[in-house]
Symmetry: C2
Subunit: 247 residues, 2 copies
DNA sequence: GTCAACACGATTGTTGATAATCTAGGAGAC
DNA sequence: GTCTCCTAGATTATCAACAATCGTGTTGAC
């Protein structure tokens, strides 16, 4: 049944405990990898995704690439036309606004649920994250502030215990990573943003779901209008701004 | 490679514009078919989905089945554990409530957008659907009322011109078809429902986005509490109610 | 009698090859 | 010179076979 002295590919079997990079990538790893490659901008929008190239790049079979592409299509990061292959989806500014609007109502829902269901421990965590954001802002550490921003939203979502909303928000965020660093660069934004976040946290701590929801919607509504402004400004000015990466 | 004498490839003539249906089932058709099979309840929750069986049933290859399953997993209708296969996802009552909550805020967003962007023609259409629902209710035609209900929500979503929200709502609705006919069976529900719908339509016609959003949230909030009540009641009473199909 | 190790059957994951389809480039007619 | 038809290359979609993995039933020891 088994001829062990064949197929040199099997020589690189599982190295279970060793933390070295895996010689052959799994399907799920390939998915993560390609997803992050799109986020990093290594694959430009409207660029064709040729299956054999991706297979060589990710060191997996073409069937795996195909599976990964299906998942990315369902995520909205890739579009696929029959018999003509897949390409990276270009998220227009109008679409970014739509995504942000959808995110706003869903995150407002999580803020409401957090106000209803958060434990005392979770509220403490949320407060701590907010304090850290305040410090970062006083130090003019915009990058640190941005990270704290993401942490705060994540902490609120965790406290909400709303799997459905959490999953959808994650999917939406994945679609507009390219835009997420624009708003923070607007000079007056961070200070305003901190006030909005503080209102959300206070409402959650006070167990006031209506106020928490309203505060979160106000916050993301401001992000939306800021994005719309910078987008229309960027349209008049220079081209696409890929230089606003995080590192 | 090819013999230049006579190539049967010339028999292939392009039928560019004609949308002919292929005699063998394509991947996309198989996806639709399996999806509807789950909705019809032919595949029970927690039932294992064995690839070869599905391949035989849908008359496609196993590779196609695999692609279809990936899409269904991403849709949230199927869960897949590595090396252990896929099975139909069981949507618990708590999850149904979550889904309805998410749908509520998203549909409220579409109601708001519809109030902002709907054309006069679209408002006329929406009004007509509402009138038809009123008639159906006077005739005690609950099934017709339910269909009108779906039509009304669809018309509002179309008028909103919000692709992102529309896509997400469609995904959410697909996950709880099994629950959607429960609420209409509660005696006092339809009359109350009609009033809620009327409020939504009036707000849209009046170009009042805040009122439209609030009315839609009120409506779906009531659906949610009704569902929660019938769910807890059903838990005490009989088992799962699959007999409430649309026929 | 109970528990653990083992082997078998069933099912999934992967690979390579084959057929169907689309895009691009060139030959020929007008 | 330009347009149309056709051929060739490239790419996707599908299929059938192979390898790896998991669950289950059985055997054996204590």
């Amino acid at each position: 049944m088994s001829d062990p002295a064949r197929t040199p590919a099997t020589a690189v079997r599982r190295a279970a405990g060793t933390p070295r990079r895996p010689p052959v990538r799994s399907a799920d790893e390939a998915y993560q990898e390609l997803r992050e490659a799109i986020h990093r901008g290594e694959l430009m929008p409207n660029e064709r995704l040729i299956e054999v190239e991706l297979a060589a790049r990710l060191q997996v079979s073409r069937a795996v690439v195909r599976t990964v592409l299906v998942r990315l299509v369902q995520d909205g990061l890739v579009v696929s036309t029959p018999n003509r292959g897949a390409h990276v989806r270009l998220v227009t500014e109008e679409e970014a606004v739509e995504i942000l609007q959808a995110r706003a109502v869903l995150e407002a829902l999580t803020a409401r649920q957090a106000a209803l269901h958060a434990t005392a421990r979770e509220i403490t965590t949320i407060r701590r994250v907010l304090d850290r954001m305040t410090q970062k802002l006083e130090q003019d550490d915009l990058l640190g502030y941005s990270e704290g921003n993401a942490d705060l939203h994540a902490a609120i979502i965790a406290a909400a215990r709303h799997e459905t909303a959490a999953r959808m928000i994650a999917g939406l965020r994945a679609q507009l990573v390219r835009f997420q660093y624009r708003t923070i660069l607007v000079p007056s934004r961070p200070a305003q943003s901190l006030g909005e976040h503080t209102a959300v946290v206070e409402a959650i701590a006070n167990r006031d779901p209506d106020a928490a929801e309203a505060a979160m919607r106000r916050h993301l509504g401001h992000v939306e209008s800021t994005l719309a402004n910078t987008a229309s400004a960027a349209r008049r000015g220079a081209g696409p701004s890929d230089g606003t990466r995080t590192a």
